[in-house]
Amino acid sequence: MTPEDSLDQAMDRYAQGDETAFSVLYAGLELKLRSFLTRLTGAPPAAEDLLQETFMRIHRARGGFEPGAAVVPWAYAIARNAWLDHVRAAKVRGRGSADAKEGHQAPPAEVTTGPEADSEQLLIARETASLVEAVLTRLPVAQREAFVLLRYEGMSVVEAAEVLGSTKSAVKLRAFRAYEALRAALGPKREMQGGGDEA
């Protein structure tokens, strides 16, 4: 049995009213959802708030979780709804993508931080990560979510289309546009680094 199967069973129990299954669900979903929301918001504090909101929504919607359904994409879809509501509320308040602008930038990733790490390499990696994050937060919502699901959450186009409630071709197009924007932003930086970007 895979971890996702056991999570599905936990959600199934929770949907039937077994309150003790919630802690299993939380433990299994927290990391995935926090990562997803942090990538979407670019701001860990906002992601933390949205994570709590997502689990509250999961709690409220649990009775509608059908037997045999998969809880991970279901939870991703709910997390995405929480994020979209957050974005809309921020627009109404006239803040735009205020989370990332307030200095709550997410920590850089995929950086070797061990003693062998070269400080210059570390700096470049951090700058690149910051640039990616800045471009991501500037992208239209639809492009950002499609790219994050496909590139970082490891979903297939079919799975991402299900989570986003969109068609496969639309998801591909949005993700590709996001990729082009990121590549255009990263290109000059990579040329400066001497590596070029022939991908």
Binding site: E4, G42, G63, F65, R80, N81, S156, A199
Partner: protein, 235 residues
């Protein structure tokens, strides 16, 4: 979930070059997290609520037909009424099924199928209702009087609005994705119930009247459904 990279060779190696801006958050909570205390329905309660809504949605149009009565020529055109009612009922079932289908992984039917159901309901209804008329039908040209239009639109709304309200109540927070279109399909199904009642009740065969007064409520219901889906149906 395993990446399905084979289906998208354009993305294969190229975009793996874009680094992840976010370090994976570390450290999950060590202590067990208790379930929220906010009230929420479990599956049995949800099923009971949906069964109640389904029963009310079946009974309500029957009550309306019983109170408002059948059209004056109903006895002469039984085959026509049975055939059209069955066709609209089939469209209704398709729309409703598209809205509430579990789907492959619990996220509903593919969005293209739901869109087809929402757009297809009025798109199939209108030409068929205009072409398929009972024998001995009177004038076809025109739109009839405004009073006739208002009466039929009003009756259609009287059928569909309570149905849509009770369905939305039963499907509260039931759509994790595609809520707008799934709500639209639910609305179209309710609109088709209104169309069935109008087919059984109204004997006017004027084309404009059928299109506007009998088909209009389907479109209105689909629009109301999209609103209900987006505001109340979204998980």
């Amino acid at each position: 979930m395993k990446p399905d990279r084979k289906a998208d060779p354009a993305f294969d190696t190229a975009w793996l070059d874009i680094p992840d801006p976010v370090r994976h958050p570390i450290g999950t909570r060590a202590t067990a997290v208790a379930a929220p205390r906010a009230p929420s329905l479990d599956r049995r309660q949800v099923h009971r609520r949906r069964l109640t809504a389904l029963t009310l949605s079946v009974v309500w149009p029957i009550v309306i037909v019983a109170v408002w009565g059948l059209r004056h020529d109903a006895g002469d055109i039984f085959g026509f009424l049975a055939g059209q009612s069955a066709l609209w009922m089939a469209l209704l079932v398709v729309s409703a099924a598209a809205s509430v289908a579990r789907g492959r992984r619990g996220l509903g039917a593919p969005i293209a199928a739901i869109e087809l159901a929402v757009i297809g309901a009025p798109a199939v209804f209108l030409p068929l209702a205009l072409v398929w008329l009972p024998e001995g039908a009177g004038d076809f040209a025109g739109i009839g009087t405004l009073k006739q239009l208002g009466a039929c639109v009003g009756l259609g709304l009287l059928v569909l609005l309570p149905m849509l309200a009770v369905s939305t109540w039963a499907l509260r927070r039931a759509f994790p994705s595609g809520a707008i279109w799934r709500g639209g399909a639910l609305g179209a199904a309710c609109g088709l119930a209104g169309a069935i009642v109008l087919t059984l009740h109204c004997g006017i065969t004027i084309g404009g009247h059928i299109a506007l007064a009998h088909g209009g409520p389907i479109v209105l219901a689909a629009l109301f459904g999209t609103l209900a889906g987006s505001k109340l149906g979204r998980a």
